[in-house]
């Protein structure tokens, strides 16, 4: 079952109605984090509507269930943009859940599912810190790691020596993450009960979710190590989908922030005129608009089959744009002035959420090394 190109607009319209009607209503008070129960309820509704992939072996037309056609990529990006515009935390949870379902199917695993735990499965595409400097890119490019390179990749995905950080819905019970063996990245599905899981204090943003530090003590979950070329292709695919998803959520969140700032600039008086008529405010609004356009252009580029997208191009886009999204969100806070700093306003939450998105998947900073590593053996 798949989506026809001519259906995408109508489907996104439906998602938009659900987003505005159900999610936006549930998160109206940005200072009050969404209770986990409500998050699960919304997730159940999204599952019923087919927005999220159902825990079955057969692919439907939910988020990320297909990714080999441009119009389906437009749908995937569109869903995350719409949900992200209402709430980045919910969008992030659904994005990671959908990617976990993709991986389960790729591995041929029976979908992990417990009745009543609609947000039970999640995934993490990276290791305990960064992106392994230049070495992940070089491995993805086909190089067989040696010496330090091998040591770094092995250590990067070592799930016993270093705690790994996970941001996910409070009730997750099954996790998929990459592991390293014989110069290959494979995937492991591990149950929460098999891990040492520590709940962290309230994290920086994405208040709807929780953050955990986890490590494993010997016992392994289900493992799958594809052949080397397949392993590279699969990791690159998931890595790209994750980065595109993070950008799409950011695009939605910044659009919402942009609308908030515009609306405010059109009603707030300062110095006898609307603040939107002051060049100081116009310049900040312009920064936000420039960012929005840049991200939307990048996402247009991503409306291609995932396997045809250049990994480095996606990584470079994320390296450039995730910082820009944070700066734009910060400018929105600045447009609001003191009000923007208060939690009931909502602007500061978007800034914190944007910082969280930037820090995911190894963070944006190590992407510079990744991009350099992709450029060739000199790196």
């Amino acid at each position: 079952m798949s989506i026809e190109a001519e259906d995408v607009a109508a489907l996104l319209e439906e998602v938009g109605q659900f987003t505005q009607g159900r999610i936006a209503e549930a998160v109206m008070r940005p200072e009050n984090p969404l209770p986990n129960k409500v998050l699960e309820q919304l997730t159940g509704e999204a599952l019923e509507l087919g927005i999220l992939p159902a825990p079955t072996r057969e692919a439907g037309f939910g988020l990320w269930e297909a990714y080999h056609q441009p119009h389906i990529m437009r749908f995937n990006i569109g869903v995350l943009r719409l949900v992200g515009s209402a709430n980045a935390g919910i969008a992030f949870a659904w994005h990671r859940q959908a990617l976990a379902r993709v991986l389960e199917r790729e591995m041929g695993w029976t979908p992990a599912f417990e009745a009543g735990a609609v947000l039970g499965v999640t995934m993490l595409p990276t290791g305990h810190y960064g992106l392994g400097r230049t070495n992940l890119a070089r491995w993805l490019g086909g190089r067989v790691p040696e010496g330090d390179e091998r040591e770094i990749l092995q250590d990067w995905l070592d799930r016993t020596s270093h705690p790994t950080i996970l941001t996910a819905p409070a009730g997750w019970n099954s996790l998929l993450w990459p592991v390293w063996r014989d110069d290959r990245i494979g995937w492991e599905r591990v149950s929460r009960a098999a891990l040492n899981v520590g709940l962290c204090s309230a994290q920086h943003g994405l208040d709807e979710l929780s953050t955990f530090q986890m490590s494993r003590e010997g016992e392994r979950g289900e493992l799958c190590f594809p052949l080397p070329d397949m392993a590279r292709q699969l990791f690159a695919r998931v890595f790209k989908m994750d980065m595109i998803g993070l950008l799409a959520i950011g695009a939605g969140a910044i659009t919402r922030a942009w609308n908030m700032a515009k609306d405010y600039a059109g009603i707030r008086q300062q110095g006898g005129k609307l603040i939107g008529r002051h060049p100081a405010v116009q310049q900040m609004l312009c920064d936000v608009e420039l960012c929005r356009h840049s991200v939307e252009q990048a996402l247009l580029v991503c409306e291609r089959p995932v396997d045809m997208l250049d990994t480095n191009e996606v990584a470079a886009m994320r390296a450039r744009l995730s910082g820009l999204l944070c700066q734009a969100a910060s400018q929105v806070v600045q447009v609001f002035g003191g009000l923007g700093y208060m939690r009931d306003n909502g602007a500061e939450k978007i800034l914190r959420d944007m910082n969280m998105l930037k820090a995911q998947t190894g963070g944006a900073w190590d992407l510079r090394s990744f991009v350099a590593g992709w450029c060739g053996d000199f790196a």
């Binding site: 700093y341 995911q360 190894g362 944006a364």
Partner: protein, 460 residues
């Protein structure tokens, strides 16, 4: 690093090609100019300060580390409380801060606690040194302790000895006895934003808090908001227009809390600096006698702007404190966290990142100290440019720390995310950084327009 240890791709300090190992072997005259002991950067900066100020810096750091640091994280995570309530740790901290003189150090004895050894340095410089130390450890408690000085500023600047003796002295003495008496500074009004901080806006702003003349004094009516520490303040310097007049009539009134008709109506749930409340107050026919008019009728606008000129450099110093804390946290992480069997600090890209962070931090501190050391009569241009430049750069340093820690930065336990939330406010309060840019130009316009005689070229 130990004397024999070294970072990856760097020569040990004892290596024959390490310049520092060779300076000691040069002739004595050369050594006089070239050889140096490389010490801790904070210690070296402290040693460059005048003696009294260096001592103050050490004391402030010790107080911050002993009394503020242990409760900082808990206060940030504590639930938001209704007006009139505060975290149980706060009264003890305020009492100790008062006893140690941190709430009264802008004047020497017999009024306050300023050491005579620092009396030759501008109080603003002293304040900047203290604020940096407090900010480094806890943004919220720093604000609670510092906003008090802004509240007292109109009293200090009033030019009236009787005001100092009658109102400020009891505040200082009470604090020194360990019975903290905080003073709030109330300028912002719910509909005003930066109009209270910028002349062009004030010229067309219709004042929200109005003072009506009555027998023996005035009745104040209206609302003020975003008063840092205003929920715990025992008195507040309130700026109000005289009835029927505009902002040019702004007058400063010294109002006690409680007073009949005075109510703290709410405190804001903030992004950061959560140990300090941002209060809104409602004034309903609050009677203020004539003797509590501070600095004279219709002098409030000048007092307000002068108070901001004194406070904007300390706000810049907050930025320095946050940038320093972020740099210290990032360095600590890089020194201990390992990837591929090596410390992060051994990787060149991490070294480049930290080098930029420490350079940025020291650059903004230099700017603050450069302006503050001459700030006996703080010029608006210097105060404003210092505030916006330093706090903008400080946020950048905090972002760099978050970048380096990646997802580890999102953990409350790693402090960096809290420092980011704290530093974000410094670009907003005391006039947004946009308002401060315009404020700098407002003050510079005489030179920009060449109004001074014999002014052929513009000095920068």
């Amino acid at each position: 690093m130990s004397a024999t240890g070294h970072l990856q791709d760097h020569l040990p300090l004892t290596h024959p090609l390490s310049p520092r190992s060779r300076y000691g072997g040069l002739p004595i005259l050369s050594r006089l100019f070239l050889d140096y002991e490389a010490g801790d950067l904070w210690q070296e900066d402290t040693a460059r300060l005048p003696g009294g100020l260096a001592r103050l810096r050490q004391k402030a750091r010790a107080f911050a580390e002993q009394h503020l640091a242990p409760v900082s994280a808990a206060l940030d995570l504590a639930p938001h409380l209704p007006p009139g309530e505060c975290h149980p740790a706060i009264p003890a901290i305020l009492a100790e801060a008062g006893r140690q003189g941190w709430l009264s150090y802008l004047l020497p004895p017999p009024m306050g606690s300023m050491s005579f050894r620092v009396a030759t340095c501008p109080p603003i410089w002293q304040c900047c040194v203290v604020v940096e130390e407090f900010s480094r450890v806890c943004g919220g408690l720093m604000l609670l302790l510092s906003a008090h000085h802004l509240g007292t500023m109109p009293l200090l600047l009033s030019g009236s000895m009787s005001t100092l003796l009658k109102f400020l002295r009891p505040v200082y003495q009470s604090c020194l006895r360990g019975q903290p008496h905080l003073v709030g500074f109330a300028i912002t009004e719910p509909g005003a934003g930066s109009d209270a901080e910028e002349g062009h806006g004030a010229a067309v702003y219709r004042p929200g808090v109005v003072a009506k003349p009555v027998a023996g004094g005035y009745l104040l009516n209206g609302r003020k908001c975003f008063i840092s520490g205003g929920d715990l303040a025992k008195s507040v310097t309130v700026f109000a227009a005289l009835q029927g007049e505009g902002m040019e009539s702004w007058t400063c009134f010294y109002v006690d809390n409680p007073s009949p008709g005075y109510e703290v109506t709410r405190t804001e749930l903030k992004m950061g600096m959560r140990a300090s409340g941002a209060a809104e107050i409602a004034l309903k026919d609050v009677f203020v006698p004539h003797e509590r008019v501070i600095g004279g009728l219709r002098n409030g606008w000048a007092l307000n702007r002068a108070s901001l000129n004194t406070s904007r450099m300390p706000v810049a110093a907050m930025g320095v404190g946050f940038a320093r804390a972020a740099t210290e946290e990032a360095a600590a992480f890089a020194r201990t966290y390992r990837l591929g069997g090596r410390r992060l600090i051994d990787y060149q890209e991490v070294q480049l990142h930290l080098a930029t962070m420490v350079a940025e931090t020291r650059a903004i501190r230099s700017l603050v100290w450069q302006e503050a050391r001459h700030a006996w009569r703080p010029r608006q241009l210097y105060a404003s440019l210092c505030k916006f430049q330093v706090t903008d750069r400080a946020q950048l340093v905090c972002e760099m720390a978050m970048d380096l820690l990646a997802d580890h930065a999102t953990l409350h336990e790693n402090r960096v995310e809290r420092i980011f939330r704290d530093v974000r406010l410094t670009r907003i309060f005391e006039g947004t950084n946009q308002i401060n840019r315009l404020s700098a130009i407002e003050d510079w316009q005489g030179e920009l327009l060449g109004n001074h005689p014999n002014n052929f070229t513009l000095g920068v």
